[in-house]
Amino acid sequence: MDASLKVQFWGTRGWISTPSLQTTVYGGNTTSLQVLHGDLLVGVDAGFGICNWGEQLAKRIVEKPEPLEIHVFLTRFHWDHIQGLPFFHPIYSPSTRLHLYAPYPKAYTREKLEILFTANYSPFSGLDSMESHMEIEEISKEICIGDLRVQVGEKSEANGVPYRFFAPDGSSLVVAAQSPSLPDFAAGTDLLILDAACTQAEEKAGYPGWGGGTYEEALSLAQASQAKRLICTRHGPYRTDKALFTASLQAGFVPAKEGEIYSVTLSTVLV
């Protein structure tokens, strides 16, 4: 069993999916990622990217039919963080148990997610009409999934909630939107995954990143956190590969690539 900690991006785009030939390098599905550790199935957020993970899991169910236990941590209820949920293949299978975590009372989280499954907007008739067992769970501070320890940061309306995942060897990664309280929560982490949509200059000029945070701010937050490595994700919706590549060279950050697996500790970086 692989005891190391890795992360795979399934969706890297903010606001809306942008499938196109100009987004094949960095990705065009709305935001979702998987935390890889041993046999655990753990994800963060459920934008449309989660559907490609779902297709992978669906194939696995066909090859090896056994119940799936899936854990998804939600950072926010914005469309681009939840909209993939009704189309996540495993929820059509009665042997799937899907845990949805958020630091809110269950009824509140349920109410927020229910709209995705209502008959107004979907061919379904509510969350409970799906075949899998979906369990909404309220979390605070910390929770363990197997030997993976998950810390829950401070939540806010604007920035949602950050999560920090620890492997037993102490290595960790943080998934977060930019927020002033981040350096404490992410202090010394091996890998910091932050939202960032554009440069400061572009933000001033009205780039439609709409508050996704700038690369410069992401870099200074990473520095303040003494994070060993930073990856920026939730790319601006109309950002082409070329523009993103150029910006990453100029500002000096690593943009998340959809489909790519990143090791959390530098000694085992996969190139």
Partner: protein, 294 residues
Amino acid sequence: MSMSLRLWGVRGSRPVHKGSTLGCGGHSTAFELQLPGEDFALFVDAGSGLAARGPIGGKSLRSIYYVLLTHTHWDHLLGLPFFSPLYEAKNEVHLFSSTTCRGDFPSLFWALFSPSYFPLPVEVKAKLHFHTLVSGADFLLANKVRVQTYQLNHQGVTLGYRFAYGADCVGIVTDHAPLDHGNYLGDGMPVGAAPQFVAAFEVGLVAFMQGCHTVAFDAHFTEETLKLDWGHSTPDRALQFCLQAGVKRLILFHHAPEDSDADIEQKVERCRQQAGKAEIEIVAAREGDVWMLR
């Protein structure tokens, strides 16, 4: 005076982005009826394809926009908040949807913009007009384009559209499932077996499509993968209706997100074989394509 059909999004269920879908495209359903020389623009459905027109903040060329929705499922709706003409005060945007018994159209629309789901720091400034349509509607848009509707077999109330402008005529029939074995999905459709209903429905749909040069038809499934209660059709069914209605071009549309470009190519190829010597052109809906309607 001519009308052409532009495909902004051809995918069903959800937008999808991966290497194997780049050829046909991954945006969910949106069409534009291009009407050169008119002072209004006309769109059908508001899936993510509608957002592919460009970012919010762009300057729109016209000031009157019509957006007609087949129904309000996510794949046909989620691009609407990214429709840039909504954010310009100079514009009038007319939004059309079916009447549904599950909540009114304006509240369905505004829920998309609710700050807890969509914290966009810009404001909808266009003057909005909400219109609800029933099956069998027949009216003129801007005194120029004749619009007719027909309720399809799909969850809720889903409308097929027929547009006629000058000598050009096009049909958009999505989403729609076969009515086999009492599979009646639409609101108001009879529960239980009613063979007369099926016959009347099918005759009605053929009559509705008659005169259309081109029809974009729901071909989400194949006969092998068909899941009746999911509310979608197959190339075979699409072809049968088009042949009966004398349609000249069938655009297989609403591709399943799981289908690769190769899968879609195969679907088209088999449908062409099925059509044999019949005089009909069969093509796959491909993002960015523009079809003349003659």
